[in-house]
């Protein structure tokens, strides 16, 4: 791998790309969120927004959705080895594409796919990458990328002045998606050259978690349980409330460590970072490691027996009470409302 | 913090024990107490951390036969949970007779496994009719050729049923009075050696307390510690050496209670300010802290004396155990008082500490026996002076 010690000629790189992550043939919501945000950035830069869509033959069908959210162009890479995400073939294909068409900005959703891919690509292309951004803006023609650091205790704004593309992974659900059909809808097909050495990692199996009914990071509403719910079987009442509200079930690290629920539900520094419309924390004390994972939620309701629990510091509405009493009541009242 | 002159290695033991206590014991202490569950997981962690052999010489796989290091470990563990603390300390109590009176062969056979924590030990002296009055032992060991047949029941033995290595005192000759008992090493699994039910206790509930039941238990004469007839000497010398350990356990429990009381008093606001700003509370805390420090100073003075090779420390060892245990009971009770209503609730840790503290005034020789012992020593000393 050759080092390219000199920054590239920035002027030759134009356009904002977003990575249209797909899983099992479905474009993920974060791609639409990125497209919507990219429109604003593109207006400031007077450039176009394109989406990069990779998958096996037939993924082209998904291009339509990308145009609906404002992509002027879709770069389409159809190849059998791109059906499921793997680091090497995706990095190979998209790097070749980027070096050919030279976007000035490349936004990728900060999912397990996106963070894995972007980190590898940035070193291959020799460009700057900012992780898990919560804010983007253009100033003096450069992308300013804002993100939390030090466990959410500080915010940092970062730029990549001399290297292209300016890459950033963006936290899902930070930006809102909005349908803005673009005037253009061009598809550019790209044939990547994927080598044998790109195929060393084999996918053996996918293990589904039956307890996961709604993707936590996509959920608009999350009901979370902590040790304060007292007993693992009380996750049933959390699930019921989640069901009634059409939300997902989250959990504190303590309950996951205790084996009450699987790690896919864990919210917090060593779990998932979520920012739903509504987060209801039941029996969760609110240690900083948990808060970091959910404090950017729009509305937070905290239910806890201890009036001094730190969770109340970030709650929009605080209820001091026994969740074993309050949660079923909430479920009951909402059911009544809905009739 | 007062400088007790601990070596760097001893401080390392203290810090490591504290780390394990906070990270591994604290999250589960309430559950262990509630379920009366033996802390095997934690004992495994202590073993892997090389903490089980603090009182055993390096020759047998231990850390260097330091009573001081052992007390530091016991104190830090007990500071978080008295039940785990006594489980840790009682294994030393069970193994100490082997260290003090065993032949090299016996030490080679039993001490390495205790040092590595692979096995635990227990000490069996007490019986239903022989508590403070140890001379009332009724468990017998009848000579039969090269063997002894043991019959009888030991009561309230800490680590009973969980330990593999037991040192027990049995009567070999009722007519010889003080020379009528003998100390034996008996292994779990020996035919005729069984256990009674696990006792339900006020405190130290995770610690296993069981009867040892001997019914025609045949033990080879090579299992005798010292010589036939030395049983009471083995017991007394063992208890002398391990009394500072119980003192350390008591100091630890008291310190843990003080920590909680201060933490609470700083945040509990009544009448517009934290209660720690009230003189009444400060005086209570001051008395508690002073008692703890004095007990600690005495415990480690004795521990260091033993490590330095002192021959006669019976009186001071009794004093350390006496003072520290009375302190633990007093301090934990005061801690509950300071936490008020919350102190009485099981959700808060101090009521358990108060329940745990009580036993320290009772076992390893009741505090009444300790006072007897100190009194006797004073009389003996004053007679020598004349």
């Amino acid at each position: 791998m050759d080092l390219r010690p000199n920054p590239v000629e920035a002027a030759n790189w134009k356009g904002i790309w977003i990575f249209a992550e797909q899983r099992e043939g479905q474009v993920q919501n974060v791609a639409f969120e990125l497209l919507s945000e990219a429109q604003k950035l593109a207006a400031d830069l007077n450039c176009e927004v394109a989406a990069v869509l990779c998958g096996e033959a037939g993924i082209e069908k998904q291009a339509g959705t990308l145009f609906e959210y404002g992509a002027a162009r879709v770069y389409l890479i159809e190849h059998p080895e791109l059906k499921h995400y793997r680091t090497a073939p995706y990095t190979r294909a998209i790097t070749q594409l980027a070096l050919k068409y030279k976007p000035e900005i490349f936004l990728i959703g900060a999912t397990t796919v996106g963070r894995d891919l972007a980190a590898r690509m940035a070193v291959r292309i020799n460009c700057g990458l900012t992780a898990d951004c919560t804010g983007l803006a253009i100033e003096n023609g450069i992308l300013r990328q804002t993100r939390p650091a030090f466990g959410g205790n500080i915010m940092a704004t970062i730029i990549s002045p001399n290297h292209r593309p300016q890459m950033a992974t963006v936290r899902p659900k930070v930006f809102k998606k909005s349908k803005v059909k673009s005037q253009k809808s061009e598809i550019i097909k790209f044939d990547p050259v994927i080598n044998q050495e790109d195929l060393l990692v084999k996918l053996i199996n996918i293990v589904r978690d039956e307890s996961v009914k709604v993707n936590l990071q996509e959920a608009e509403i999350i009901i979370s349980g902590g040790r304060g719910i007292g007993d693992p079987k009380n996750f049933a009442m959390i699930e019921e409330l989640a069901g009634v509200l059409g939300g997902a079930v989250g959990a504190s690290r303590a309950t996951v460590d205790a084996g009450w629920i699987s790690a896919h539900h864990q919210v917090g520094q060593t779990g998932k970072t979520v920012s739903p419309k509504l987060y209801i924390a039941c029996g969760i004390a609110g240690k900083i490691q948990h808060l970091v994972g959910m404090q950017s939620s729009d509305t937070i309701i905290a239910i806890n027996k201890d009036p001094d629990a730190p969770i109340f510091k970030v709650a929009t509405y605080g209820i001091v009470g026994d969740c074993l009493e309050v949660v079923p009541l909430l479920t009951k009242k909402i059911k009544e409302l809905r009739g | 913090m007062l400088n007790y002159g601990f070596t760097e290695e001893q401080l390392m033991v203290k810090d490591l024990a504290r780390k394990i206590a906070v990270e591994k014991v604290m999250p589960v202490r309430a559950e262990l107490d509630e379920k009366e569950e033996f802390p095997w997981e934690i004992m495994k962690i202590l073993a892997e951390a090389d903490l089980c052999g603090l009182w055993i010489p390096e020759k047998y796989g231990g850390f260097g036969q330091s009573v001081t290091a052992f007390c530091l470990g016991t104190e830090e563990i007990s500071r978080v949970c008295g039940g785990v603390g006594v489980t840790f300390a009682a294994s030393a109590l069970g193994g100490a007779p082997i260290l003090l009176f065993g032949t090299d062969e016996q030490k080679q056979k039993y001490l390495p496994d205790l040092a590595s924590g692979k096995k635990l030990a227990a000490f069996g002296l007490t019986e239903a009719n022989a508590g403070s009055d140890a001379s009332g032992l009724q468990t017998t060991a009848k000579k039969d050729g090269d063997y002894y047949i043991i019959n009888g029941t030991k009561q309230w033995i800490t680590n009973g049923g969980e330990a593999e290595t037991y040192t027990i005192i049995a009567m070999t000759d009722k007519n010889r009075g003080a020379r009528g008992a003998t100390a034996f090493i008996v292994e779990k699994g020996t035919p005729g050696f069984g256990f009674g039910k696990k006792e339900k206790k006020m405190g130290i509930r995770c610690s296993a307390t069981r009867e040892l039941v001997f019914d025609g238990c045949k033990v080879h004469k090579s299992q005798i510690l010292g010589k036939e007839g030395m049983g009471f000497i083995v017991a007394m010398k063992t208890l002398d050496m391990t009394r500072p350990g119980i003192g350390a356990q008591a100091v630890g429990i008291a310190q843990g209670a003080l920590d909680e009381a201060i933490k609470y008093a700083k945040t509990r606001v009544q009448f517009g300010k934290p209660i720690i700003s009230l003189q009444a509370i400060q005086h209570m805390l001051a008395d508690m802290a002073t008692q703890i420090e004095a007990s600690r100073a005495l415990v480690y003075a004795v521990a260091k004396a033993i490590d330095a090779g002192a021959k006669d420390f019976t009186k001071e060892a009794s004093m350390a155990k006496l003072m520290a245990s009375d302190t633990a009971m007093s301090v934990t009770t005061q801690a509950v008082q300071i936490l008020g209503g919350y102190g009485y609730m099981r959700e808060y840790p101090v009521e358990k500490m108060m329940r745990d503290a009580k036993i320290t005034q009772i076992y390893e020789g009741t505090n009444q026996i300790q006072r007897n012992q100190i009194g006797l020593s004073l009389i003996k000393e004053s007679a020598q002076k004349e």
Binding site: M155, N205, I206, T299, F312, V320 | -
Partner: protein
């Protein structure tokens, strides 16, 4: 197996605060610790070594005080440790850091497996592990929650958002691990004593033959231009009344806000 683990010494971020007036970090009195997930990586390496034999080498790129972090790894049982330290590395972003670490690894010799924690609790980027893999031109697997080695192959279970993925990857490779992979062992007394006596070898930029045009601040494509305190969360409302009253009140408020 020859395993190398890359760790980072970080401030305990539960204690870090930002001075809202100067917008700088308040580091005084904040203890420096081994990045918690890196402890999981070291633990996993030790378990693999204990099972398959071999050696565990731990390295870190950091200032001189990072030797403390390496000593903790010795106390856990690491066989060899190296501090990669040089003024030339100061101000490195993840690109330059991964270059430096990869260069050090190349210098130290052939390794079968490289383990990293998923991300550091200060930077929170999760970018260095994959960066190292790219520099070394070997495959990577991220978010490992279970690792099984079988001669020259590794079977890895990855913790994804909703499912777990089982993949197979040849050695040598880079794995980044998640916290849920294991429970790091407590250091032993013998380990602590070994750590105390240990003299940590430091490797400079010249000694690892790093190209100083691409290390440190100079070599970093990204630049931090602003640090500020996050918007203060607060002004929440504590509800009162009976449980039923509070439930009715909160539902009303949610409907007002059009949340539900």
């Amino acid at each position: 197996m020859d395993i190398v683990v890359c760790i980072k010494q970080v401030p305990d971020t539960t204690e870090v605060r930002i001075n809202p007036e100067t917008n700088t970090l308040i580091r005084e009195g904040v203890p420096a610790i081994v990045n918690p997930i890196d402890e999981n990586a070291v633990e996993e390496a030790l378990r693999l070594r204990d099972k398959h034999g071999g050696k565990v080498t731990v390295i870190t790129m950091g200032p001189p005080q990072a030797t403390e972090a390496l000593k903790q790894c010795i106390a856990m049982g690491a066989d060899e440790v190296y501090l990669i330290s040089d003024r030339a590395f100061a101000g490195s972003d993840t690109w330059a850091t991964s270059y430096t670490l990869a260069t050090a690894i190349k210098k130290l010799g052939k390794f079968d497996l490289i383990l990293c924690g998923k991300q550091a609790i200060d930077g929170d980027t999760a970018q260095v592990g994959p960066g190292i893999a790219e520099w070394l031109n070997i495959p990577q697997v991220t978010f490992a929650i279970k690792v099984e080695v079988d001669s020259s192959k590794v079977k890895v279970e990855r913790l994804l958002e909703e499912v777990n993925e089982i993949v197979e990857i040849p050695l040598p490779c880079v794995l980044t691990v998640v916290k849920q992979i294991n429970e790091p062992r407590v250091p032993s007394l013998k380990g602590l004593m070994r750590a105390k006596k240990a003299e940590i070898k430091t490797l400079s930029a010249a000694e690892i033959e790093a190209d100083q045009a691409v290390t440190g601040l100079k070599g970093s494509p990204t630049r931090v231009v602003k640090i500020f305190a996050p918007p203060a969360k607060g002004g929440g409302e504590m509800l009162s009344g009976t449980a039923e009253e509070m439930v009715v009140a909160v539902i009303d408020k949610l409907r007002e806000r059009k949340t539900i």
